[in-house]
């Protein structure tokens, strides 16, 4: 009986907590449970969610990608500069940052898989390099409509309406980034659960040597994971630029740890004990709901990391207590 109760708690604990938190705020705060506020919460987590999907991929293959934050920054300023400096059409503004993200992923994969630098060190180095590249590219300035260039002239272009629609628009009354996020979560969930590539990723992460000796091309699988990680981070950067309407320098650096937190909270959802995209989504939702509600209850912004950290610790405790119990 006690065991059953515990198992139930481990499986559905995180979801119960989300429901409880939503219920609590709904009773305490008049405006919390309104369509507008809930849409706001989802929009606020949409950017970090794309980064978190990338982190989910690298964690699934038992790797780690610290460079996603810098990749977001780089992609933000690239897409902004393509419009503001070079007046490029929309598809270029989207494709070039995505390609950049893929290239970053390829370099990470090369360092980790071929040169065999441990993932944390390789992506730490890449984090610095990309961070430096994006600052050098913009000479340290943020990129905004008709900005002052260093030679005294004015930049010719501005953010197009079509581009801003990605981050600010609505579709059937739902914010576009929320639609994009839900589509991405569902697509990635299907990819990970129902395709053989998803299966290969989990198996590679679970036991690389056994996977290799079963004829899986584990290096290719790991490369794919890092490329996907770079791609999703790059898309998060595009979303960021579109949402803010300018290319902020250093936009991505806080996103790394927030996305990692969401993924780890996701470990505990449904008692998965491993990275999974549905869990990552719910993890991001939990953090988003808490921050939204507590802000409305006048929690100061500088206290926010405490909330994030406590949520993370609790979720990790649930996950690891359960994993160790299973092992025993």
């Amino acid at each position: 009986m006690k065991d059953k109760l515990l198992n139930f708690f481990f499986r559905y604990g995180t979801i119960l907590v989300i429901v409880a938190v939503v219920a609590f705020f709904s009773f305490r705060l008049e405006y919390f449970f309104t369509y507008g506020n809930l849409a706001d919460i989802l929009r606020s987590i949409s950017i970090v969610m794309f980064v978190a999907i990338g982190v989910t991929f690298s964690l699934i293959v038992d790797g780690f990608d610290l460079s996603v934050g810098s990749t977001v920054s780089l992609s933000t300023v690239i897409s902004a500069s393509l419009m503001v400096w070079y007046q490029q059409p929309l598809y270029i503004v989207i494709l070039v940052p995505l390609l950049t993200g893929a290239v970053v992923g390829l370099i990470n994969a090369f360092l980790i898989v071929r040169i065999r630098i441990p993932d944390l060190f390789a992506t730490l180095a890449m984090m610095y390099i990309i961070d430096g590249v994006h600052r050098t590219y913009t000479k340290g300035y943020s990129v905004y409509d008709n900005m002052q260039m260093s030679d005294g002239s004015k930049a010719p272009g501005h953010f197009t309406e079509a581009f801003k629609w990605i981050g600010q628009g609505e579709w059937l009354g739902i914010p576009v980034p929320v639609v994009l996020m839900l589509v991405a979560v569902i697509a990635v969930h299907i990819f990970l659960t129902y395709t053989r590539w998803g299966r290969q990723m989990y198996i590679t992460g679970g036991n690389r040597e056994a996977a290799r000796l079963s004829g899986l091309r584990v290096n290719r699988v790991r490369m794919l994971a890092y490329v996907l990680s770079g791609l999703f981070a790059a898309f998060a950067g595009i979303l960021f630029a579109s949402f803010v309407g300018s290319g902020q320098v250093d936009a991505g650096s806080p996103l790394l740890m927030e996305s990692v937190a969401a993924v780890f909270v996701g470990f505990s959802v449904f008692g998965a004990g491993k990275p999974n995209v549905a869990g990552t989504f719910l993890g991001a939702v939990l953090i988003g709901v808490l921050l939204n509600g507590l802000t409305m209850m006048n929690l100061e912004y500088y206290a926010q990391p405490i909330v994030k950290g406590v949520v993370l610790v609790l979720a990790l405790a649930v996950t690891f207590v359960q994993l160790n119990r299973r092992r025993a």
């Binding site: 395709t195 036991n207 056994a210 000796l213 079963s214 004829g215 290096n219």
Partner: protein
């Protein structure tokens, strides 16, 4: 410590123990006297190691009693067993020793750890006492030397010395000779003789019948968790013991399926990895089972990994169906039709956390999917077929593979390759840790594969198994295949001789 020839009597009565509802011991009896060397035999899974773990306190029995000189003993923890004078020399000596401490410190380790004795250590006294104990064993090991600088057999002696220092009345030797050279084994036998004369009861677990019949006073055979034979050495014979271990004779238990030898499949020439494999040259035909036999550490596992592309070869050539091949990773080997069932089953052969269904579909994910989407139905059908064909005992195909017994895990590791169109199967110690029933199944599966015209390379250190299953046998020693035998020509003694003496034997 000196006692009469008939010293203490240690009895285990009607010991029962189950794991997850599966009985490992069914009212097993066992008794040993001080001053005798008592062999404990049984096939893998017969229950001998469970019985000894109960005696040494590692497991608690579900039922039954342990008596010393007729008085019941309560043994619940390893510390209880040690306090009653029951000690164990494990096969993995390194797990019981601290490598960075000296010989003397290791001999007194238990006592230091338990906090018994005085608070201050007197090094001169500790060393002198350690020397005295080692002298009893006729072992010349400097007591101030670090354990990490000792050979394996010296480490074993240190462990035995520790048992003596702890006033052991009974010592369990768990396959002590398996990793030793012939000469080192001889020394160990002398030590055991000394222990016997000083009244210590030795329980000797080994698979090597000749040494058992040379050394032991009594022999107990276990099968299926019960004692099936307990007799003095003169009252029984090797043949009798094998019969009791198996319940049948070896030929009855593992009848060899005859297969026709076909075309040449694989030619390996001078293959080496610059380390443990120096020169492997052999051929393999369709329908043939080639045995590669050698002691632990001869380089068999490394050779199998070279052939499978898991490690890069430094030199030599491999020709498959007449074509030269080079594999950059195992996936290339699988594509070319060479598959490996590795020795480290739980780490490399199967995914312990994944269900049987996933494990069995692992090598054919491409076949099981359409447009990249896995067809769950096809995967389940594939798994059920393999479970049926190989007789895998599992509650369902959703069961995590790691929960199956060793033999059934091995069948899963084999089963994942059956649906590929592989021509060559490499088996590295496939019967290690496998119970006797599953072993017989595995031999049958291998025989059937040969009949289908597959080529089999069977690498093992179990000489009798190789003799039973292989058509041709290569003896491997120090990374070289030094001698080839046809099946009828080989005797176990010859194989053992070449495997341990190596190059000198040829000179």
């Amino acid at each position: 410590m000196l006692q009469g020839k008939h010293g203490n009597l240690l009895e285990m009565r009607k010991i029962s123990k189950s794991f997850a509802g599966i009985p490992a011991l069914r009212e097993a009896d066992f008794s040993v006297r001080g001053g005798e060397i008592h062999a404990l035999l049984g096939a893998n899974g017969a229950g001998k190691s469970t019985l000894m773990k109960i005696l040494s306190g590692a497991y608690t029995p579900d039922g039954g009693s342990i008596l010393l000189d007729g008085k019941p003993l309560a043994i619940r923890t390893p510390a209880d067993a040690k306090a009653r004078g029951i000690q164990c020399v494990y096969q993995e000596v390194d797990t019981a020793l601290v490598p960075e401490l000296s010989v003397a410190e290791n001999i007194w380790l238990d006592r230091m750890a338990s906090g018994a004795g005085r608070r201050w250590l007197r090094w001169s006294k500790i060393c002198a006492e350690a020397e005295a104990v080692l002298r009893q064993l006729d072992a010349r090991i400097p007591v101030r030397r670090k354990i990490s600088e000792l050979t394996l057999s010296e480490k074993q002696l240190v462990l035995i010395a520790r048992c003596l220092a702890e006033q052991a009345k009974f010592i369990i030797f768990d396959e002590p000779t398996a990793p030793l050279s012939l000469e080192e084994a001889e020394h160990l036998f002398k030590v055991m003789e000394r222990l016997k004369r000083s009244g210590v009861g030795c329980i000797f677990i080994s698979h090597r019948l000749p040494e058992i019949f040379r050394m032991c006073d009594r022999i107990t055979v276990m099968r299926d968790g019960r004692r099936v034979l307990s007799a003095g050495r003169e009252e029984t014979s090797e043949r009798d013991v094998v019969f009791h271990m198996l319940g049948k004779t070896f030929e009855q238990e593992f009848p060899k399926l005859e297969a026709d030898r076909g075309e040449l499949l694989l030619e390996v020439n001078g293959l080496g990895d610059g380390g443990k494999v120096r020169d492997a040259t052999f051929r393999l035909h369709r329908g043939e089972i080639v045995g590669i036999v050698g002691v632990v550490g001869a380089g068999k596992t490394e050779l199998s990994r070279l052939l499978f592309g898991a490690d890069p070869a430094a030199r030599g050539t491999v020709r498959l169906r007449g074509q030269g091949v080079k594999f950059r990773e195992p996936a290339d080997a699988v594509k070319a039709g060479i598959v490996l069932v590795p020795e480290e089953r739980r780490k490399q052969g199967i995914l312990v956390a994944e269900p049987v269904r996933v494990n069995l579909g692992l090598a054919i994910l491409g076949k099981l999917s359409r447009f990249g989407f896995l067809r769950r139905g096809a995967e389940a059908v594939n798994a059920r077929e393999a479970v049926e064909r190989l007789g895998i005992k599992t509650a369902s195909i959703q069961q995590p593979a790691g929960l199956l017994s060793g033999g059934n895990q091995q069948k899963v590791a084999i089963g994942k390759w059956l649906s590929t169109d592989a021509d060559i199967f490499l088996f590295d110690e496939p019967t290690k840790g496998v119970d006797i029933g599953a072993k017989s199944d595995i031999f049958r599966i291998i025989g059937q594969l040969a009949r289908q015209g597959k080529g089999i390379v069977y690498l093992s250190c179990e000489f009798s198994e190789i003799m039973g299953i292989a058509d041709r046998i290569y003896v491997m020693c120090d990374g070289r295949l030094i001698r080839e035998f046809r099946r009828p020509e080989a005797t176990e003694e010859q194989l053992l001789y070449y495997a341990s003496a190596g190059q000198e034997a040829l000179a």
